[in-house]
């Protein structure tokens, strides 16, 4: 395989339409006679619905319909779990509209459909709902008491519970010279893609076919769900993925609206568009993180880690969403991180409260567990008087120990195995880049009104979640090669990276390739884009499909030329004799196309120059890295300024360094914002207080420091032909840990102990104040 494209920093081919305002996001798609929907959402965290009166709303000119549970009852069923279905969670699922009771602020109660969104919102104002307000439970601690039950019929708010047990934890703690126990809290926050969710559904009643623009992330899975809800065969449902304004794990799951909007289109016989507004997004799209953990670590005096045990609680909100218990389960699953910790025990709990449901956000559970573990390590280092980098180097899993079997971290799953990696090297590179040798002298130093601190965070992250991905490569005349992928695109640049892989594998110029993605009509099966699986699963599927097509090309060309296919090669879109570097090509790919036609007499194979391939994998391949940050903290105002941030990431093999670099910078910036600024805050009675960007603060250009990204390719994956690992999520996951460690080090002289996030001005100042009051 020639490697002109893989590994090259190719500019993105899809950019022009975005730059010129010609991209088509779902709200840019317009169809004739389109109506607009608005969702009436609960203004109470916990209440019984006594009545819903829609007459006034229906009387408003331009209002076409108001849909309530009664209208959907014959089709309504709970939205199922598609992953991490921990036993017990299935009792807490959400119907697309509230039935008799609402369990979080923002829960959909009714859908108003009108000629414009303006009028639809007027209709919402005129719908009269009578609530019987119930007490709300808004903290895990409160919920555990089971006094206020979110789902009374289940008798408890503890929706699921299980334990991880690896090695002999009792022995570890008995043998330990040193132990440390702490409680950690990771705050609730979410991804806030700049484009909110949206759907446009259009039903052809003549043919009984439904078309929906807007689905993304896991379109095939969601189509299957919708098919089941509507009792409409999948082949009659067409999901079209438009351009998508980011996802970060939040957009693209099956939400109530994914049923409601198609339902409305079918009921009304007219296309219905719904575009979520920002206020809705903040209260209705999945929240994430929100983990509370009691953790205890055991070590020898020399810093050798012996054991880690924890009790971890995920605040799941009012209903379990499509990813089940992913947040607390993923937090627990990689809590030990890239370290050799022989004994590990963790009890995982999913707790229901009256808040928005919890779902995935970039590296779900991993940001949380990285924070917990890396903070503990720094505490160990401080207590045992060992440099935090030294402590890590001592305990990081060595390349000679690969593959490293961590163990079973979820019942019924195969053991977690780190396939390959040089973890110490990533740490060393990061330390070298930031100049740790010199810089560590400034730890905790007060310079010009600020305290300086350096923090380290090491991580490992599963990528390439299987079990399969599908791709199809098709060559047609006009030098036109199509690559169809089962992946979705939320901004990652698949139109470029997948073209790179196809171009190199097939042996054609990249300009001839167009990548199609997301639509359920392209391929029969697709796994979607999530869990950093795109490059691994999609990329390898493209590789396999392109290989097959190349093989076909050479076989048919060989048949035509009277040569063995093994004596031919395809290079730059031309068929050459193998080894005949300087001679003219024998055929062009364009020439081979008619030779593959159904009418051709020289084709020994099936007609067509195309192949559909599946890359199957039951293994996860692990990307890893290290972040190091230098911060300056103003002790009087609590302001944390990030002076420098170094992020080292090893993806095994990098398809496009320009794009991966972009992911790293973007992911780190997102993580810095989440760690310093973002917070979804609820009042005592379950009101979400952060419902606009005035209160939910996203990082802007003045918050983001210089970020130095280093991409390593030290440990290619041994688990797939391309040797790649994923690289989308891990870029933000160590930011909480790294910044928290930096702040803790900066404020060490105060004795401040950082066990909570975010690192807001107010919280940092409060920590200092509490310590000063003690003195």
């Amino acid at each position: 395989m020639t490697e002109t494209y893989i590994g090259a920093p190719i500019r993105r081919r899809e950019d022009v339409r975005f730059l010129t305002g010609r991209a088509k996001f779902v709200d840019d798609v317009k169809v004739p006679q389109m109506l607009h929907a608005a969702i009436l959402r609960s203004s109470h965290a916990h209440a019984r619905i006594k009545s819903i009166k829609t007459t006034n709303a229906l009387a408003i000119p331009g209002v076409v319909d108001v849909i309530t549970f009664e209208d959907i009852a014959h089709l309504a069923k709970p939205i199922p779990i598609r992953a991490y279905a921990l036993p017990g969670l299935e009792r807490y699922l959400q119907y697309p509209l509230a039935r008799e009771k609402v369990r979080y602020v923002g829960e959909p109660i009714a859908v108003a459909v009108a000629e414009t969104r303006y009028v639809a919102e007027d209709a919402l104002d005129a719908i009269d709902v009578t609530y019987e307000v119930l007490p709300a439970v808004v903290s895990v601690h409160e919920a555990l008491r089971d006094e206020v039950l979110v789902h009374e019929e289940n008798g408890t708010n503890l929706a699921a519970r299980y334990s991880i047990s690896i090695g002999d934890i009792e022995m570890a703690f008995r043998q330990a010279d040193y132990t440390r126990r702490e409680e950690f809290k990771v705050h609730r926050h979410t991804g806030n893609p700049l484009e909110t969710r949206g759907l446009l559904a259009s039903y052809d009643s003549g043919r009984g076919e439904l078309t929906v623009w807007g689905p993304t992330k896991v379109p095939h899975i969601n189509r299957a769900f919708l098919s089941s809800f509507l009792s409409l065969p999948e082949q009659k449902i067409h999901f079209i993925e438009p351009d998508v304004g980011g996802g970060f794990g939040v957009r693209g799951e099956f939400y109530p609206e994914d049923f409601l909007i198609p339902f409305a289109a079918i009921k009304l016989g007219l296309p219905v568009k719904w575009i979520e507004d920002r206020r809705e997004h903040l209260m209705a799209a999945n929240h994430s993180r929100d983990v509370w953990c009691e953790a205890e670590i055991a070590a020898r005096r020399d810093g050798t880690l012996l054991g880690l045990r924890a009790k971890l609680y995920g605040d799941m909100g009012g209903y379990i969403r499509t990813h089940g218990g992913i947040v607390p389960a993923s937090a627990a699953g990689l809590l030990p991180g890239p370290y050799r910790i022989p004994a590990f025990e963790c009890a995982v709990h999913c707790i229901m409260t009256n808040k928005t449901g919890l779902g995935t956000l970039r590296a779900p559970g991993r940001y949380e567990s990285c924070f917990i573990r890396e903070r503990l390590l720094d505490m160990v280092a401080a207590d045992l008087n060992i440099d935090p980098a030294e402590l890590r180097l001592k305990n990081l899993i060595q390349p000679t120990e690969m593959p490293y079997v961590l163990g079973v971290t979820r019942r019924g799953e195969s053991p977690t195995v780190f396939d390959s990696g040089d973890y110490p090297m990533a740490l060393k590179r990061a330390l070298e880049k930031i100049g740790y040798g010199e810089l560590r002298q400034r730890q905790g130093r007060y310079e010009e009104g600020k305290y300086h601190g350096i923090g380290i965070g090491c991580y490992v992250k599963n990528t390439g979640r299987g079990p399969f991905e599908c791709a199809r490569v098709e060559v047609r005349s006009g030098n036109s090669i199509a690559v169809y992928i089962g992946l979705a695109s939320l901004g990652q640049g698949h139109e470029t990276t997948m073209a790179q892989i196809c171009a190199d594998t097939l042996g054609v110029p990249i300009e001839q390739i167009t990548v199609f993605h997301g639509n359920t009509d392209f391929l029969p099966f697709g796994g979607g884009t999530n869990a950093s699986r795109g490059t691994v699963m999609g990329g390898n599927a493209v590789y396999l499909a392109a290989q097959e097509v190349k093989c076909k090309v050479l076989t048919i060309a060989g048949s035509y030329l009277g040569m063995a296919p093994s004596d031919l090669e395809l290079r730059d879109g031309q068929v050459h004799g193998k080894g005949a570097e300087t001679e003219k090509p024998l055929l062009s790919l364009e020439d081979v196309v008619p030779l593959a036609a159904p009418t051709s007499r020289v084709n020994p194979l099936e007609p067509g120059l195309d192949a559909t391939a599946y890359f199957k994998s039951d293994n996860l391949t692990y990307t890893y890295g290290t972040h190091v940050a230098h911060v300056a903290v103003d002790p009087e105002t609590g302001k944390v300024e990030v002076l420098r941030y170094v992020a080292v990431e090893d993806v095994g093999r990098c398809v496009n360094p320009l794009l991966l670099h972009g992911q790293i910078v973007g992911g780190v910036a997102q993580g810095i914002g989440a760690t310093l600024l973002e917070d979804l805050v609820y009042s005592e009675n379950g009101q979400l207080l952060t419902t606009t960007f005035m209160d939910y603060l996203l990082p802007t250009s003045t918050v983001v420091p210089p970020i130095e990204a280093i991409i390593l390719e030290e440990a290619p994956s041994t688990l797939n032909p391309l040797g790649v690992k994923g690289g989308g999520e891990e870029t933000s996951l160590a930011t909480g840990a790294t910044l928290a460690n930096a702040v803790a080090n900066a404020l060490a002289s105060f004795g401040v102990n950082v066990t909570e996030l975010p690192l807001s001005h107010n919280r940092v100042r409060e920590w200092i104040r509490r310590q000063q009051d003690k003195d």
Binding site: R117, Y118, E121, D122, D125, D277, R278, R279, E636, T637, G638, K639, L677, V681, L689, T690, T692, M694, D695, L697, P699, T700, T702, V703, S760, H761, N762, R765, E766, R769
Partner: protein, 293 residues
């Protein structure tokens, strides 16, 4: 998030605007730059039945130095116009330094001086600045005209002394004394955000004795707060470290700020003291420079 329906008028001149206000009063909201009002309307937190757009009142757009040295600013003057005014840069350094702190350029391109003052967000810079200047506001209705002192204007959280039928037409900033030392500082979570705590200090020295001081805090309560006790303590005494520390302590102690999502009352009290201290140092330094000249 679309606004609720409303009746819209775009009067061509001031008398027309005042007539409309007289007619609709309580039911109407004045639309100036829209940077404060439109978010509220989009969120349906404000649902005026009538919107009176004063965008065509060019007679309210001016920055006019008066013969007595006062600066008269028309209420509909865009914040960006003040920001870009060479004359303001030269003659009114505190005003010049404060405007860029307001949000972001795109907001200042549309937002007006009068709009921000009439909106009276306690965390905004302009209301506090007007209190520090001891500015006066000309307010007109179809029936009369009056002048309200800034100290009497801000009554509470987003509440001013404006009657429903009245329009703020002019802000008069007293002549800038070149001997003033000054400072403006704020702590916000990100640059351009509303202040968690903000302070404006004006201070005049006579042979290193503090002749006059004004300390105004914003973001700490329902309206800008003038710290008179601290001001009095400073007046007549030496402008030294001890006095600064004491003034800052009084500011912190005297203040009874609110707690909210972003900062506790305790935080605001402490940081108010910190910012007061830092600003006094800066203002005194400038005052010393000014007396040398």
């Amino acid at each position: 998030m679309k606004p609720a329906p409303f009746e819209y008028f775009a009067p061509q001149n001031l008398p027309e605007a005042l007539e409309l206000l007289a007619q609709y009063g309580e039911e109407a909201k004045v639309l100036a730059g829209g940077q404060s009002l439109m978010p509220l309307m989009n969120l349906r937190l404000a649902r005026p039945k009538v919107v009176i757009d004063i965008g065509r009142l060019s007679e309210l757009q001016y920055i006019a130095p008066l013969s007595n040295g006062d600066l008269a600013v028309g209420a509909f003057t865009r914040q960006r116009t003040v920001e870009r005014s060479d004359m303001v840069q030269r003659e009114h350094p505190l005003l010049a330094a404060t405007i860029p702190l307001i949000s972001h350029a795109q907001i200042r391109n549309r937002g007006t001086i009068g709009g921000s003052i009439a909106h009276a967000d306690p965390a905004a810079e302009l209301p506090a600045l007007s209190v520090a200047f001891e500015a006066e506001f000309t307010v007109r209705s179809s029936r009369n005209q009056r002048v309200i002192r800034s100290q009497d204007f801000f009554l509470g959280y987003m509440t001013t002394a404006l009657q429903p039928s009245e329009l703020l037409t002019e802000i008069r900033i007293p002549a800038w004394d070149p001997r003033w030392g000054w400072a403006v500082d704020e702590v916000s979570r990100r640059e351009g955000d509303f202040a968690l705590v903000g302070v404006i200090v004006l201070l005049r020295l006579d042979n290193d004795v503090c002749e006059k001081a004004r300390i105004v805090l914003f973001g700490v309560g329902a309206a800008p707060v003038r710290m008179r006790k601290a001001e009095e303590m400073l007046s007549g005494g030496r402008a030294d470290g001890k006095a600064i520390a004491e003034a800052a302590r009084i500011v912190s102690e005297d203040l009874e700020p609110d707690s909210d999502l972003h900062a506790s009352a305790e935080y605001r009290k402490e940081v108010a003291g910190t910012l007061a201290r830092r600003s006094l140092v800066e203002a005194i330094s400038r005052a010393r420079e000014a007396t040398k000249r």
